[in-house]
């Protein structure tokens, strides 16, 4: 009896192996693909179709909700992605951990369309501009409903105003939540000073009884649906929400906020590196970048694309393209594994408070 069992196991394994072999063959036949891993709702799906029609390269597209969810998947290499779009501090962490491939800019001639300022900004996480190509950028600020908030909104203080109990939507991501508290206290958003962190944590704990919910992407839908009066949101979502609900407005707090940038990077060992570079190049084409901006409404660093925006109000919108010199802006940097873990622990203390 036991022999038969072993035989059955062997048979299963062999059939499994041959199955794998078949799969590989199938993949080789159609190797003209690219595996893209991007933020949720972060590209006009039409562009993916257009890219495939133009180049014959098939796009396999996956989405994530936070940098922290994306990182372990790339690190473990469970799925071989060819192109990922992380934020500044996460790119630094990936470079430090040797997870990224240098981009061959000969294959990305359209990189010249990205404004000089943005390459300079990228230096803070990609010192020689070798690993990343800026995709979108923006600020973090306060989205508020003008029918519910009558006062002038220009400070993070409003998020601690008891008047707005149960009307506040807070960001449910460690770095952004702490950024708000740290900036309100007048500290750097990259602080690792224990006293400052504790103070920020206590401030967030005080805020908890006023907060309606901790959410990420849902801020947008809840604000559009008049569920809350105030929400912490990325500037790119602000224009979209205003289109859907004209009562909403966006403010950059005077205490300062995060200036962030999401860039395309190629993970180490990507199997379709040239295709990935073609895709980046395609996205850097002014007409494509403009089309994409109209859809996702996140600020584009592509200068010619910005000039192509038809709606003058949007082209000169202080939300999408603010005068950066007017605000106290800071770029988030990677704090290192130890500090990241400590911050996560503090964040859980806030959430369980």
């Amino acid at each position: 009896m036991r022999k038969r069992l072993v035989l059955a196991c062997l048979l299963l394994m062999v059939s499994g192996l041959s199955g794998c072999a078949n799969n590989d063959a199938a993949q080789n036949k159609n190797d003209n693909v690219i595996y893209v891993y991007n933020w949720g709702e972060y590209i006009d799906p039409e562009i993916l179709t257009m890219f495939t029609e133009e180049t014959g390269i098939e796009v396999v597209y996956d989405e994530y909700e936070t940098n922290e969810i994306m990182y372990p998947k790339i690190k473990a290499g469970a799925v071989k992605y060819d192109l990922v779009c992380p934020s500044d501090y996460m790119i630094k962490k990936m470079i430090d951990n040797d997870l990224l491939e240098e981009i061959n800019f000969d294959n990305v001639p359209n990189y010249v369309n990205i404004g000089e300022d943005y390459w300079d900004q990228a230096v803070s996480y990609d010192p020689d501009n070798r690993y990343s190509v800026p995709y979108v950028w923006g600020t973090v600020g306060i989205l508020y409903n003008k029918t519910m908030v009558k006062e002038k909104v220009d400070s993070w203080a409003i998020l601690w105003d008891p008047k707005y109990k149960d009307e506040i939507l807070m960001q449910d991501s460690v770095r952004d939540a702490f950024m708000v508290a740290e900036k309100y206290l007048g500290y750097s958003m990259n602080t690792t000073d224990e006293d400052e962190l504790q103070e920020a944590k206590e401030l967030l704990q005080q805020q908890k009884s006023l907060v309606q919910a901790y959410v990420i992407d849902q801020v947008r839908d809840k604000m559009i649906g008049n569920e809350a009066a105030i929400g912490v949101i990325y500037s790119g979502e602000a224009i979209f929400t205003q289109r859907e609900n004209p009562d909403l407005d966006y403010a950059i707090p005077k205490e300062g906020t995060a200036l962030w940038m999401d860039s395309w990077v190629i993970p180490k060992g990507a199997r379709h590196k040239e295709n990935a570079e073609k895709f980046i190049n395609y996205l850097c084409r002014p007409d494509i970048a403009c089309l994409n901006f109209e859809y996702i409404t996140y600020s584009t660093p592509n200068m010619p694309a910005r000039d192509l925006i038809e709606d003058e109000d949007i082209r000169n919108s202080p939300i999408a393209f603010p005068d950066l010199s007017k605000y106290n802006l800071e770029v988030q940097v990677s704090l290192g594994e130890e500090a990241d873990r400590h911050l996560s622990d503090l964040w859980r203390e806030v959430k369980s408070y």
Binding site: E68, I69, A213, R348
Partner: protein, 265 residues
């Protein structure tokens, strides 16, 4: 061991035993792979203990409410004519045909401040109901999601009780109350026990319901574990707490099964 059992052995080896070993391996090692007890010992931190206690409290509540709703329903179902009872029980199973995540999101829309319920209440000029992002919403989500797991086993055991036994009890002079407590309840206990386990365990481990209906304001042990895995990518700490949670589940199952056996005797 027969050949016909081999697929099941392969299945349980591949999808139960090996993953379980992996969880235990991660739980008792640190990031470098050396033996460590820290991950499991982490449970005694204030945040984790609070999350675990909250989870246990919510699970108790949800299980109790499910039992209170399901038991009378099972009794009623067992007394109606068989063709009608299958339609009735189908009605309670029907929601399970839909993904539980979708159903939970539906509750979010129903309970929201500008949601369906408050729309109706305000149309009737009644005061609004604000339970979204508060403990009652989580409890409601748990009860709604897991109620069928209580109804089915209880209904099964109640409907299998020989009617002659009930008639005999009545013939011998037992009133309704006595018939219930001395005949029906003891005979239905196996179903009740498995119902309790099937509601208690998923309630104890859930993180989706507390996330969606709790607005991220109530941290259950499931949420802590989920965050350790997805956001912190600290698999060791996550596995450590998972092992602690498994111990609690095993304890609860031992208690219930012991109670079960004693009563049958």
């Amino acid at each position: 061991m027969t050949l016909s059992a081999s697929p099941y052995i392969l299945w349980s080896a591949g999808f139960i035993i090996i993953p379980l070993c992996l969880v235990i391996y991660y739980a008792f090692t640190d990031a470098s792979g050396a033996f460590s007890f820290d991950n499991v010992a982490d449970i005694i931190s204030y945040v984790n203990i609070k999350a675990l206690m909250l989870s246990i409290a919510f699970s108790f509540g949800a299980t109790l409410i499910c039992l209170i709703i399901a038991y009378p329903l099972a009794l009623i179902l067992s007394t109606v004519v068989s063709s009608n009872s299958s339609i009735l029980s189908l009605l309670f199973i029907l929601p399970m045909w839909m993904n539980s995540l979708l159903r939970t999101y539906a509750w979010q829309n129903i309970l929201e401040r500008k949601g369906v319920i408050n729309g109706i209440l305000s149309a009737l000029s009644l005061p609004p109901l604000y339970i979204i992002n508060k403990p009652p919403a989580i409890l409601l989500g748990m009860v709604y999601d897991f109620l069928p797991f209580m109804i089915l086993p209880v209904y099964n055991s109640v409907s299998r009780i020989d009617k002659d036994l009930i008639n005999a009890a009545k013939d011998l002079g037992a009133g309704y109350r006595e018939t219930f407590f001395r005949v029906i309840w003891p005979l239905s206990l196996p179903g009740v026990i498995s119902g309790i386990t099937m509601v208690f365990v998923p309630s104890l481990t859930t993180f989706v319901i507390s996330d969606i209906l709790g607005g991220g304001k109530i941290l259950l042990i499931g949420n802590v574990i989920e965050q350790l895995f997805t956001q912190d990518s600290d698999w060791n700490a996550g596995a450590g707490l998972s092992v602690v949670l498994m111990v609690f589940i095993v304890i609860s199952m031992i208690i219930t099964s012991k109670y079960d056996r004693e009563d049958i005797r």
